[in-house]
């Protein structure tokens, strides 16, 4: 008999009204991803010199891409996954509490998405960080852009409130003495979403009022944006490691060997580390006190502590269980994982991309390098390892599990889907590798045409061509994923069977592990540190060779 996991059985047992809600959240996420991918491809191809976009059209494409992905794909997906985890792992019989609030939240987020797209399409495209000075004068289009973000914040507040109610209500009913680990993490995640909604209001409300002509230009926009931006960094990563935690158990049957209490503490670490590590976003502010720079540098070292800790918990748990099942050699256990399952393949590559993106991010947040690299193509070069290679692949892995359980339709061609992370990562390696090298060599960020009428070094244009080619490969992988997931949401063709061929899984959880070695996790951390040092040394060597003087501009 096929053994299922709580995730799949819980999703199937949810009330139909909750299934409709979850499918709607995830459909909205996929729509935002589709818009973002199409405009991202246009931007990458224009940067590579493969298509020509005028300055305004280019900025519109870049803004639509960034707004759709960074704000809407990532947060529609989080809204859906938060409700999935909150309800399935807490009390799927009762379903989502405050369902109407969740629907209201989704409606507000959709209205926000429409307003943001209108703002970008009809007015001066503000890029995703929307600095008011870029808009110059108040206008309805600018008002729509800021109103979009405020509606998104209001929507997230409502969805997060429903998520919290869903995780806490079973405690009050006496169904649990303590929250299950995933419910606790979902509750903490929902709390951080509410804080981020507050941060969004703090950042965007003054600008929205200015754009509507109701007050003067905001004086402290950059500070408000940095606080929000810091939260927006952390939330998708927190969601990512929670998805890993859930999917690893679904794919292998392995629970944390360190116990539920420790897992909860690790997830709570995200909350503890969010505020103190935020100072590095201010490094480019010219008036920042030297003491704050020093404190920010020291505290930034802690930014990856929660993610690395969750990684160690998951990898150590997997390794000791695999060894108890006969895994040999230092890395033999990795080959025993169910790689033919497309979700496993996606989260496996997500881990590799996180190591690369994480190591590069440590280069950027060093106080002495932040000013030199923040306005270069280094930034999109490194952060696509995180947004596409880590978070998007992880969220897609979750959808590959969640959607078939919700729709009752089998996944389209898993044997094709399992190769897509390879394709996406190959594209990412070209895009990110060339992008980071371009950044080290001074190629500016947010400039579509970098030849400067032949005055720029020839290598700049060559590197941008590689960036464009990498972007095309990433786009191809994501479009195939989108086809598979959207097809699963829609009843295409003849009525599908209730369950297709089961996806490959292993079941390692039932065996006593005894005393086993687990060196892969610590070894991976050593490699991460080594990569950071190597990328930093490379940065200094390449920039020392530049025949130009570099200076700080606006913050990243």
């Amino acid at each position: 008999m096929k053994e299922h996991h709580a995730l799949i059985d819980g999703l199937k047992a949810l009330p139909a009204a909750d299934q409709r809600l979850l499918k709607s959240c995830l459909a909205a996420a996929l729509a935002a991803l589709l818009v973002g991918v199409v405009f991202g491809a246009a931007t990458a191809l224009a940067r590579g010199g493969f298509v020509e976009l005028g300055p305004l059209a280019g900025y519109r494409a870049m803004s639509t891409h960034a707004v759709s992905i960074f704000f809407y794909w990532l947060y529609f997906a989080q809204a859906g996954l938060l409700l999935v985890f909150a309800t399935v792992f807490t009390s799927h019989q009762h379903g989502v509490e405050w369902r109407r609030a969740a629907w209201l939240g989704l409606a507000l987020m959709l209205a926000g998405f429409a307003a943001s797209l209108y703002g970008v399409a009809s007015g001066m495209p503000l890029l995703y960080d929307a600095p008011p000075e870029l808009g110059r004068d108040p206008s309805a289009a600018l008002g729509a852009a800021y109103a979009g973000y405020l509606l998104l914040a209001a929507g997230l507040f409502c969805v997060a409130a429903a998520g919290i109610a869903t995780t806490v209500a079973p405690l009050a009913r006496g169904e649990h003495d303590r929250m299950p680990v995933v419910s606790f993490a979902a509750c903490a995640w929902a709390g951080l979403l509410i804080v981020s909604a507050i941060a969004a209001v703090n950042a965007f409300l003054p600008s929205a009022l200015w754009a509507l002509g109701l007050r003067g230009a905001p004086a402290e926009y950059a500070t408000g944006w940095h606080i929000l931006f810091h939260n927006l960094h952390y939330l998708p990563l927190m969601a990512t490691v929670l998805v890993w935690y859930v999917l690893v158990e679904a794919l292998t049957g392995v629970k944390s060997i360190f116990g539920a209490r420790f897992s909860k503490i690790v997830f709570a670490l995200y909350l503890v580390f969010v505020p103190p590590t935020s100072l590095y976003h201010m490094f480019l502010e010219p008036n920042l006190a030297e003491g704050v720079r020093v404190a920010g540098s020291l505290l930034s070292l802690f930014i990856s502590v929660p993610t690395v800790t969750v990684f160690l918990v998951i990898v150590a748990s997997l390794e000791v269980h695999a060894r108890a099942h006969g895994a040999k050699g230092l890395f033999g256990w990795i080959g025993m994982l169910p790689w033919r399952n497309p979700a496993m393949s996606a989260i496996g590559f997500a881990v590799v991309n996180l190591a690369l993106g994480g190591a590069l991010s440590f280069v950027l947040i060093q106080e002495k390098l932040a000013g030199l690299l923040s306005d270069t193509f280094f930034v999109p070069g490194y952060f696509h390892f995180l947004t596409v290679g880590t978070v998007t692949l992880t969220f897609i892995a979750a959808l590959l599990y969640v959607l078939p359980a919700l729709t009752g339709r089998p996944l389209w061609r898993p044997e094709v889907l399992r190769w897509l992370p390879h394709l996406a990562t190959a594209g990412l390696t070209l895009f990110g590798g060339a992008g980071v090298a371009a950044g080290y060599l001074g190629v500016p960020r947010r400039v579509l045409e970098v030849s400067y009428d032949g005055a720029a070094p020839a290598v700049w244009t060559a590197l941008m061509s590689v960036v464009g080619a990498g972007g095309a490969l990433m786009t191809a992988a994501l479009l195939v994923y989108l086809y598979a997931l959207l097809r699963n949401l829609m009843p295409v063709g003849a009525a599908a069977p209730a369950a297709g061929e089961p996806l490959p899984e292993v079941r390692w959880g039932e065996v006593a592990t005894g005393a086993q070695r687990a060196w892969t996790g610590p070894l991976a951390v050593v490699i991460l540190v080594g990569l950071t040092v190597a990328f930093t040394m490379l940065a200094f060597e390449l920039m020392r060779a530049l025949p130009v003087a570099a200076g700080a501009g606006p913050a990243h």
């Binding site: 709390g191 804080v195 507050i198 703090n202 408000g224 709570a268 103190p276």
Partner: protein, 70 residues
Amino acid sequence: MHSDAVTFAVVFAVWLALAVTYATVPMFAMPGYAVVWGWGSLVFLGLAALTALAVRRAKHRRRHMERPHP
């Protein structure tokens, strides 16, 4: 006290301490940071209180149901 509530209370304490630091220490004087982390600390205080109250309510209900009825 309930361990989940205690964990959220610890988060509240850390955020509140930072909010106070940003509001009062001249070197860090960043009112925007103080506002967001301050409101955030209240969110986690709310979660701690909500969790503790939910558990207390369940205990109360359990005691009520276990009480022998004449």
